[in-house]
């Protein structure tokens, strides 16, 4: 139920962006894949973090941590940097195939890739940071990160996802690239 709150916040944010969505036809196509990507990567990451904390292969501190910690974090960053490129491309292909936007057309390939890539990296980085902070904090208090981190990730996930896509889209419009 709590995670529904986060999604409702995401929905509220989405509802305020009808103008942006109308200006960038096809933008909506990007939302579900970027959310799914972020959710999948977050889930795997938080599970590995919590296991590593329990096993002691990771220290419950933000700085000067083990190489396992660094490798896991780098791995997340690599994934959220690469996958969105494919998302952008595929979203473009599907939009073209189904003639999204009709006569006025839809976002260009560059547009899809730009927005997907930057919001993908941004949301992935934010979510990873939150996951790390919450995992370390709960572990330090003697709680089980698995139990606390999951609901928080679910609740904030959708909201962070929508926020980053909206933010990046606004930047893209303002900068006049599209």
């Amino acid at each position: 139920m709590l995670s529904a709150l986060g999604s409702i916040g995401a929905g509220f944010l989405l509802g305020t962006q009808t103008e942006t969505i109308s200006n960038l036809p096809g933008l909506l196509v990007l939302f579900p894949p970027l959310m799914a990507m972020r959710g999948t990567i977050s889930g795997a990451f938080s599970a590995r973090l919590s296991t590593a904390l329990h096993l002691g292969t990771i220290k419950p501190s933000i700085r000067n941590n083990t190489s396992t910690f660094k490798k896991n974090f780098i791995f997340v960053i690599i994934l959220v940097a690469i996958i969105p490129i494919w998302v952008g491309v595929f979203a473009f292909l599907v939009s073209s195939l189904f003639n999204v936007g009709g006569e006025s057309g839809h976002l260009s390939l560059l547009g899809f890739i730009l927005i997907a890539e930057f919001s993908g990296i941004l949301s992935g980085f934010l979510q990873a940071t939150i996951t790390i902070l919450v995992s370390i904090l709960t572990y330090r208090r003697g709680l089980d990160p698995d139990i606390v981190v999951s609901p928080i990730i679910f609740a904030t996930g959708d909201f962070i996802g929508v926020l980053t896509i909206v933010f990046v889209s606004q930047l893209v419009i303002l900068s006049g690239i599209l």
Partner: protein, 181 residues
């Protein structure tokens, strides 16, 4: 290298999940193009994520029962299977009522109201009613299949179930919109 292997394991699931989701996005886009029903946009993330929660909670319970030997991975009329089915279904429907309420009030905040409170609730509940039945069956089948093949529930099954739940969810919303409005 352990990390490289872990990375390689995630990639297939990620590719599958993102590909399916692009189609979900396409239907979302089409739904929005039907008309400026802002409230639908507001309710969509909540409805989709509730569908995902319904699927994964049921999936988790079935998987636990499978692992503890309480049930077999076959479609038999077993109490565990159908009682949980209905319990989670009802809980999900209750959440959609809430979503309907919140959707209505948020849409008033954002702009001029287009639909009535009753219409919001009916939309949310109807979409959920169709969505959850399909998602629950899917979740049950997925739990059986993944149990038989020894697939990882957290990293493979959960993302697939939530992604399919998103797709079914947006289709339900689209369907209900076309039927009711």
């Amino acid at each position: 290298m352990k990390i490289r292997r872990a990375m390689l394991e995630s990639v297939p699931v990620l590719m599958l999940v993102t590909c399916i989701s692009v189609f979900t996005g396409f239907i979302l886009n089409t739904t929005f193009s039907l008309g400026d029903i802002i409230g639908i946009l507001v309710m969509t993330p909540a409805l989709l994520s509730t569908g995902g929660n319904v699927g994964t909670s049921y999936g988790a319970r079935i998987t636990t029962s499978l692992h503890s030997g309480l049930i077999e991975p076959r479609f038999k009329r077993v109490r565990m299977i159908y009682i949980n089915f209905f319990a989670i279904y009802i809980t999900g429907i209750l959440v959609t009522v809430l979503i309907g309420f919140v959707g209505f009030f948020i849409s008033i905040l954002i702009g001029p109201p287009t639909l009535s409170l009753a219409q919001y609730i009916i939309l949310a509940v109807s979409a959920g009613a169709i969505d959850f039945i399909i998602v629950l069956f899917l979740s049950l089948s997925t739990a059986f299949i993944s149990f038989r093949h020894g697939l990882d529930p957290d990293n493979i099954v959960a993302p697939i179930v939530t992604t399919l739940a998103d797709l079914i969810g947006i289709c339900s919303i689209y369907l209900i919109l076309n039927l009711i409005i």
